[in-house]
């Protein structure tokens, strides 16, 4: 509430109840509390999908190495082609076959 200021106690409770259901309306379904995934853009996530599990992750993850590598979708998890590792996938045209050739990169 930026234009209305709650003065008495009932006003505060009105805001709480309003924000309760307005928030419900505006935001996507309240995300489950996910203690582990620290990378959770939901299409899909990296450690965990939007529900905190692994069912929504790429299947297998190697399928998506290129999208994360090229589009810098997970710049903190996959070496990004734009800055840190332009040739990280040089020896790995099809990740599902040549994933063994991907190497751990020490950024910087």
């Amino acid at each position: 509430m930026t234009h209305l200021k709650a003065v008495n106690r009932k006003a505060t409770r009105v805001i709480e109840s309003v924000q309760g259901d307005v928030v419900g309306l505006q935001q996507p379904p309240v995300q489950p509390h996910i203690p582990l995934g620290c990378s959770l853009a939901f299409s899909p996530g990296w450690e965990a999908d939007s529900t905190g599990g692994t069912a929504g992750l790429c299947q297998p993850v190697e399928r998506d190495i290129f999208d994360c590598h090229l589009g810098c979708f997970w710049p903190a998890h996959v070496p990004d082609q734009l800055n840190h590792a332009p040739s990280c996938t040089a020896k790995c045209a099809a990740a599902q076959k040549d994933w063994r050739k991907l190497d751990l990169v020490f950024p910087g």
């Binding site: 509430m1 930026t2 234009h3 209305l4 200021k5 709650a6 003065v7 008495n8 106690r9 009932k10 006003a11 409770r13 009105v14 805001i15 309003v18 307005v22």
Partner: protein, 482 residues
């Protein structure tokens, strides 16, 4: 696009700012310039959102206006035209509802003969002179009342002794206090006591008893000598001022353990609020003074006429302004009417019933009949059981069913209903012969007075919010004790 229109609220100004008192939620919001402009625009005519934004686009940035409109809609200050919010459902309180206050009529006799008294005057409900009711409550009935209270109450119970003149039956009062304390301790509850008296019988040993037992005292008094003696007279017509004045001063000097308040009945001939307040607080030293217009049928000479109500409102406003200045500088002020209303505003109380009568408060007549409140003690039509057999739940249910605000259609368009909810049942009974009618004769006065209280509330919310915060602490303390 659908037009936006104003919902129900009462707008008021205080401390140079704009406030809304929303109905029926009883929420108080402060508006900023943009929100206030939107409300002013919609007050002229209902119009769709884009029209509002366009009309105000030169003074406020459109995104801000959109947010303001959305927030006003969220709190139901404005809404789509012809799409009113559904009427709140009629919820009856959960049963069994805990009894918090029991008013005990320890006697229906009085040593004064105030001409405007509703118990003995023409408007009396029960003929205590020739009726079958016993004149004094017996020790046994008082004990049964205590058992009744402890059975029906939650953790904390309040017992108020009333009359006639309460102190005429002091011996029963004294023993009942001791008995109630001992029984309460046994069942792990706490009970506290208060009484109302005309102060004529305040001998020193009674004063000591009241002080030592921390009994709250309310004195019925009308102010300086000539106002007091106009109506509060002995049976021989003599004024009671010179009898009660020294006793009250003695009481106020000795009894320090609880604040002592005066309760003034205003009549058409004694309408001088500030002078009475000044006299009672400075001359005597009362901590608090509460005023109430006399409850009477309109044909009495002393009844306050319509013009009288306006004058009374003017005087109340003056004292309210004085209250506001004192509290703004953190000094105590004893005008209790406004303090109680401020508390209700602060909590955002939205009442279904005007007071606790028949619900959290019950009156007990001298022979143990339980009534809606002490003003109906002894009246068959308003009986809700007896202290021996307990509350007649069916009668109570019926009473609550028919006195709910939803049934008072006249009130449905009044913005003050969350606080007034139709007003005192006894006033309605005396005026219209039934407790179910709202007190339409003082609606203007109630709205005028509530508006004044809201303005004082707005002012204090800016200049001394700590004072208002005290209401939260008191409530928290009370809840903590439950």
């Amino acid at each position: 696009m659908i037009a936006l229109a104003l919902r129900e609220f009462h707008q008021f100004q205080a401390a140079g700012r704009q406030f809304l008192y929303l109905v029926p939620s009883a929420a108080v919001f402060e508006l900023d310039a943009a929100a206030e402009a939107v409300v002013r625009l919609l007050r002229e005519v209902a119009r769709p959102e884009d029209a509002v934004v366009e009309a105000l686009a030169d003074t406020f940035p459109p995104p801000a206006l959109k947010v303001a409109i959305s927030e006003l809609r969220d709190v139901r200050a404005i809404g789509y035209q012809h799409q009113p919010d559904p009427e709140g459902p009629k919820f009856l309180p959960m049963m069994p509802f805990p009894l918090s206050t029991m008013v005990l009529n320890v006697t229906n006799q009085c040593n004064l003969a105030c001409t405007y008294c509703y118990e003995y005057g023409e408007d009396k409900i029960v003929d205590t002179e020739h009726g079958k009711q016993s004149k004094f409550m017996s020790e046994a009935t008082a004990r049964e009342s205590v058992e009744f209270l402890l059975r029906e109450s939650a953790q904390i119970a309040h017992m108020t002794f009333f009359g006639g003149e309460t102190l005429l039956n002091f011996p029963v009062l004294k023993s009942t206090v001791a008995y109630a304390r001992q029984r309460a301790a046994e069942v792990g509850k706490t009970v506290d006591f208060s009484l109302t008296t005309n102060a004529t019988l305040l001998q020193p040993e009674i004063i000591d008893f009241l002080a030592d037992n921390e009994i709250g005292v309310t004195i019925s008094m009308d102010g300086p000598r000539e106002l007091q003696n106009k109506f509060r007279v002995l049976h021989n017509g003599a004024g009671s001022y010179d009898i009660v004045a020294p006793k009250i001063k003695a009481l106020l000097r000795r009894h320090r353990s609880r604040p002592i308040g005066a309760r003034v009945t205003l009549t058409s001939e004694t309408l001088d609020v500030t002078r009475i307040y000044r006299h009672l607080t400075e001359e005597f030293g009362f901590w608090e003074v509460g005023f109430a217009p006399v409850t009477t049928s309109p044909n009495q000479t002393y009844a306050i006429s319509d013009g009288g109500f306006d004058r009374m409102l003017e005087q109340f406003r003056e004292l309210a302004y004085e209250f506001q200045q004192h509290v703004a500088d953190n000094r105590h002020h004893g005008f209790s009417n406004i303090k109680d209303t401020l508390e209700e505003i602060h909590k955002g109380v939205s009442k279904a019933y005007p007071c606790g009568a028949g619900l959290g408060l019950l009156g007990v007549s001298t022979d143990g009949d339980v009534a809606v409140c002490h003003r109906f003690a002894g009246s068959e039509a308003h009986q809700l059981g007896t202290v021996r057999d307990g509350i007649d739940r069916a009668a109570q249910q019926d009473f609550l069913e028919h006195h709910h605000i939803n049934d008072k259609t006249d009130c449905h368009t009044c913005w003050a209903r969350p606080i007034c909810a139709g007003g005192c049942y006894h006033e309605a009974h005396v005026r219209y012969g039934t407790t179910r009618r709202p007190n339409l004769h003082y609606c203007e006065w109630i709205r005028g007075w509530t508006d004044t209280c809201l303005q004082v509330y707005g002012e204090l919310s800016v200049r001394n919010p700590a004072f208002l915060a005290r209401f939260d602490r008191d409530e928290a303390k009370a809840e903590a004790a439950l």
